[in-house]
Amino acid sequence: METVKIILNLIEGFFIFYLMIYSLILATSVIVGTLSVYDNMHKKKLKNVFEVDKGIKISIIVPAYNEEITIADTVETLSKLEYHDYEIIVVNDGSKDNTLNKMIETYNLKEVEKFVLNKIQTKPIKKVYEGKYNDVDIILLDKENGGKADALNAGINIANNQWFISIDADSVLQSDALKKVIAPILEDDDVIASGGAIMIGNGVTLKNGRVENYDMPKNILASMQIVEYNRTFLASRILFDKVNANLIVSGAFGLFNKDIVIAAGGYAPNTRGEDMELVMKLHTFCRVNKIKYRIRYVSDAICWTQAPEKLKDLMVQRRRWHIGLYECMNNYKSIFLKPEHGIVGSLSYFYFLFYEFLSPYIEVLGVMVTVLMYIIGLININFMIAFYLFYTIMGVMISIATYCTTVYMNELEFNFTKFLKTVVLCFFEVGFLRFVLTWVRFTALFGYNKNKYFWGKVQRKHMKKA
């Protein structure tokens, strides 16, 4: 019994220590993130920014599988970006709906004979269509289904330009996003990739890629996800960017150097975390080959995306993300604590392993041990309640801080009613949604081998337009 007590105390102590370190990382990242945003706003005010809308030719690759609802709108918005030198490549990845015909009819695309060199192996291409809209070249690739990574690789093979952007078919780039996301490349020749910020657009009204109105969505689930996204994109991404240790450039909006990506082998097919996998691959490739490089994050290059509004859809999405994370951690476990991989192999990998991948298991175990200790009578219940309450309040405060920063960054009017609504949402998000998603991530790998290649289906909706 004494041994059991000691073991349980050790586990409990580890759990408390784990949560405190996590809180310290979060608080540090929020402070760094906030200061960075202010610095950027100050630079913008004093015109210490580049206003370059040409010079770097970009191919925007949009992989599309069953996207008939959103694809035409997405391409329409992409054709109106405040930038000159770019083309749009839509890759129809064997859709079973009307995605292909929707594109052909809407944009009057014509079938062409196109030579495509398979620098990266992909599933066969059936047909290629081309056209022009709003003075922007549009290429439509129709290919056999091979998954998102395969579709992106096919887009890379046909891309005419040295830089490409991967963007989701249901996402909307803000009109100035290209001008902003290329800025790191103009500043520093070593930059090989640059990621933008993903914001939830469920409550946003957009007109030609510009925000006309920004409201919290009526759907409470989407609102809670805004709180969560703000925390991620305005905190940890900026912190890791400072030390060139970001392991993710979001698949919804990332700019990459085509030659380096091809040399590294392109996107890995049959993986659910293809965006993170590519970035880890690039880090590894450059470090092993001693190529001087930087992967940057631009917090004001914004892409609006749709968040799932049904719990079932959200759970499917998060399960997929966690499996993708597992695959990346597993595929790249050899870099952990290896000196040649520097800060990526130490700090980044450590954080993503313990505070992203293992966190649901540690948290569930911690809760189980706490309950067990209470049953045995080993625990000071008042202390534990106080601890969890304080931990929740800490999470809420961090979320509120990032909300305030978002308001400032987007130069929005500060509305006290919305602020109060956000405070309430933060409590729900930290006190309820987080536990639900922890459980989803905890069970994500159950049946992994059986359902390895199942992507899951999420309902699509149009984004609000003015």
């Binding site: 015109k47 210490n48 062409v112 060199l117 305030c404």
Partner: protein, 334 residues
Amino acid sequence: MLINNFIYFYIGICALLIVFELVWVQYIKLYNTRKKMLKIKFKEQIIDFEKGINREINIQKLSKKLRNENNLVAFQSAYEDVIKRRNCSDYMKKILPAFIYLNGYYANRKNNMEKAYFAYVVGKDITPENAEQIDGLMETLYSFLNNKSINCRVNALSAICSVGKVNNVIRALQIINNNGSNANSILIANCLEKFSGNMHILSVKLINLFDKCIENVQIAIIKFLATIASDFDKELIEKLDDEYVSVDVKCEIMRYFQVNKSENMKEWLISELENEHIKANDLIVKAIGTLGYYEDARADALLEKLQYSEDEMILETAHRSIEKKQKQKKLISI
């Protein structure tokens, strides 16, 4: 207890963060209101002056006011709004002495962002004729070209191109050459496009300077020449045969000839590709891509032959060039 203290410490940090955020948001709200009012005041001053209602301006008071970055931002915002609707040259002539004070002040500032902003303001507000009346303005902008902040360097070059004469631009590029590698060709070309004087005279001077420039500046010059429809076929084709010119510069010259078509260049491309004189792979690929822009039976035959190359990049580029030609033919026939 230690854990309790830890918890209170973290809560304290977050509480401070929240308070800071809320106070900052309120401060920004107040600042924006104040900026709006300042802007209105500046706007009124400019319009009243131009209309002849109030021609009295205290230059010393104005220049002291504009030393504050927030006031300068408000002034600039007001000025840019007004000049969209009316000519303000009289007003600018009147307040020019203020810029003499400001030039001396911002030249010695330690804050690089403020220096960059001052360069931006100069580029927007000052005409070349006015610039000559501000003693030491060019020297200030030249000094900014050595600044460690890239934004300061870019804004300064942009301002020199907007307000300077040809010799000022040439001197600026010489300074950039001496600085070495920290010069992005796209940014430099972007600045050159803002030159407000005679583009032809500038382009002649740039070609004469070309050989003394570092690679990035050479590329920037070619990018600039491409955008102004210049006529330097002979000089640029000579560079293609110059072994001291880098491959990247030669590739940029090829891109120039994609936009500015030339019979001489067509002949050069056909001859070099047929006789396999070009050695660097990147250059061969670029040459094949450029040939796709030219209508000629020999060019077509050459591209047909290159479609069967063993080199993947050559093969792909040849195919793409043929596709481009076919597309062009279809468009012309429509």
